[in-house]
Amino acid sequence: MSELPDAGLFEIALLLFDYRMRYRVEGGSMLPLLREGDQLVVDKNAPVEVGDVIIARHPFIKGLEMVKRVARIDERGNYFLLGDNPAESTDSRTFGAVPIECIKGKVVSRLR
């Protein structure tokens, strides 16, 4: 997924009824796809595959949620996450692959 669709009415309806979550991007680790201030619609029930942009909980810092891309899933089933802009990203290169419990949901669209 190198492009992110814009959220349609249906997505917004799902958001209103709590079937989706809304996130705002802070920082530039997902440039050029995501810019600071972009608003994302996140599906917490969607299956997550390699290449997906996801919201993950930081494995060591409480309360910190990050937007990253799944680079690979290792033999233990842990998710190796990378920023699209590696020079501006702290990701699995620093904190290692994360278990599925850390994945909060898949980014499905962007609010325009």
């Binding site: 996130y23 802070e26 920082g27 949620e65 990050m66 590696p86 702290t90």
Partner: protein, 157 residues
């Protein structure tokens, strides 16, 4: 009108922060701390070289001279160490393998900078102090290029 309604509805839903920062609570790096220390090293080196030893054998004048010289040396020593520490933090904590690909001389630059900090302690060398400043300027240029920002080089003195 429809867009406004849409915006209102969306804004009524809770929003969370999705961090896309470098280092959770973002690590704050700036080569200016290295620059200030390196400038102090250059300034102390100049002051040591310019200091005139008192004529005659007035003990008080000698004590004042020795005191001033010791202070200049001590500050040079201390600031050279600070410059080294600050440069090493940038090197090991801020810069990443991707930067190295773009700036293949990065390791060499930091290694030489650290060596120059040591040389400035061991010697009273205007050349090495100036070379240290030149290296810090290069670090400044590379650092801000990696941030995509155009920050002009300046010095305090």
């Amino acid at each position: 009108m429809f867009d406004k309604l849409k915006e209102k509805l969306v804004n009524a839903t809770p929003v969370k922060r999705a961090e896309a920062h470098c280092d959770g609570p973002c690590g704050v790096y700036d080569p200016s701390s290295t620059r200030v220390a390196a400038e102090a090293v250059l300034s102390m080196t100049k002051k040591i070289l310019d200091l005139k030893k008192p004529d005659g054998d007035d003990d008080k004048a000698f004590a004042a001279y020795a005191n001033t010289l010791s202070r200049f040396i001590s500050i040079k020593e201390e600031q050279a160490q600070i410059a080294k520490d600050e440069a090493l933090i940038l090197w090991t904590d801020y810069f990443k393998p991707d930067h190295l690909e773009k700036y293949p001389d990065l390791h060499g630059l930091f290694w030489k900078t650290a060596k120059l900090c040591s040389a400035c302690k061991q010697e009273v060398s205007l050349d090495h102090a100036q070379e240290l400043m030149n290296n810090v300027k290069r670090i400044h240029e590379i650092f801000w290029e990696t941030k995509g920002r155009d920050i002009e080089w300046y010095t305090a003195s």
